[in-house]
C-alpha cells in the first residue's frame, strides 16, 4: 500500500471516530478512538435483526394476500 493510500484509509477511520491520530515530528501515531468497532457492529446487527423479524412477518402477510387474490381470480373466472 502506498503512503497516500494509507493516509486515506486512516483518514476515513479517524472521521468515523474509530481511531485517533497524533503527529509528533515526522511520525503519526494511531490509536483506537472513542468509538469501538464491536459496538458499531453490535448496533447494526441489532438494527438488522429488528427489521429482519419485521420483514419476516410482512412476508407472511403479503404471501397470504397474494395467495388469496390468486384464488379469488380463479373463482371469478369460473
Amino acid at each position: 500500500m502506498t503512503l497516500t493510500g494509507m493516509k486515506k484509509h486512516v483518514g476515513v477511520l479517524e472521521q468515523a471516530g474509530l481511531v485517533t491520530t497524533k503527529k509528533i515530528g515526522r511520525v503519526r501515531t494511531c490509536q483506537l478512538g472513542p468509538r469501538r468497532l464491536e459496538e458499531e457492529t453490535m448496533w447494526l446487527e441489532r438494527y438488522r435483526q429488528r427489521w429482519d423479524e419485521r420483514f419476516d412477518e410482512l412476508d407472511k402477510v403479503v404471501e397470504e394476500l397474494t395467495r388469496k387474490e390468486k384464488s379469488d381470480e380463479r373463482k371469478n373466472r369460473k
Binding site: E40, R46, Y47, D52, E53, D59, K60, V62, E63, L65
Partner: protein, 172 residues
C-alpha cells in the same frame, strides 16, 4: 462508516441487509415475496400494518394503530412494552406515491426524529423494499441507536413472561 451486515442466506427466506450509508443514514433492504401493490397496502392499511410491524420477539404488544396514508396524513402506533406507561410512536406522511414510494416523519422523539423513506420496486412478482432512515444529525442517529439497544436489554428481562402471555392470548 460504511459497515455492512447481511443475514445468512436461507433456502426460502429472503435476506435483510443493513448498511450505514453515512453518519446520519441507515438503509435496510429486503425482497418480499409478492407484488408491490400488496406490499404497499401492507404498509399503508392499519389492519394489515398491525399484523407485522410488531413481531412477538420484540417483546411489545400493539395497543392501537391508526394510519392515514395521505400526504399530510398522520399515523399513531401505541405499544405496551411492559413499562408503567404505554409508548406512542407517531408522525406525518410526507410522500405517498401508490405502490412505489412512501415517506413519513418520526415525531415522538422531538427534533431528533428521523425521516423514513421506503421505495418499492417490483421484479418478477417480488418486491424489493428499500427503507432509508435519515436523522437530522449524527448525534441523533447515535442516540436512537443506544436508546433502542437499552430498550432491548430491558425488554429481554421481561421476554419470558411476555412470550407466555402472548402464547396464551393467541389461543394456540
Amino acid at each position: 462508516m460504511n459497515a455492512r451486515i447481511e443475514s445468512e442466506p436461507g433456502p426460502v427466506k429472503n435476506r435483510t441487509t443493513v448498511e450505514r450509508k453515512s453518519d446520519r443514514e441507515v438503509v435496510v433492504t429486503r425482497t418480499i415475496n409478492g407484488p408491490a401493490r400488496i406490499v404497499f397496502e401492507a404498509f399503508t392499511k392499519a389492519e394489515l400494518l398491525k399484523r407485522w410491524w410488531v413481531p412477538k420477539s420484540m417483546g411489545m404488544t400493539l395497543l392501537s394503530c391508526e394510519v392515514d396514508a395521505r400526504v399530510g396524513g398522520k399515523y399513531r402506533l401505541v405499544f405496551d412494552h411492559g413499562g408503567p406507561e404505554p409508548a406512542a410512536f407517531f408522525g406525518t406522511y410526507v410522500e405517498v406515491q401508490p405502490y412505489s414510494r412512501l415517506a413519513w416523519t418520526n415525531e415522538e422523539g422531538g427534533e431528533g426524529g428521523a425521516v423514513t423513506t421506503v421505495t418499492f420496486e417490483e421484479k418478477g412478482g417480488k418486491t424489493l423494499v428499500v427503507l432509508r432512515e435519515s436523522y437530522p444529525s449524527k448525534e441523533a442517529l447515535d442516540a436512537a441507536g443506544t436508546g433502542a439497544a437499552d430498550a432491548m436489554v430491558e425488554t429481554f428481562d421481561q421476554l419470558d413472561e411476555l412470550l407466555v402471555a402472548l402464547g396464551e392470548s393467541s389461543g394456540q
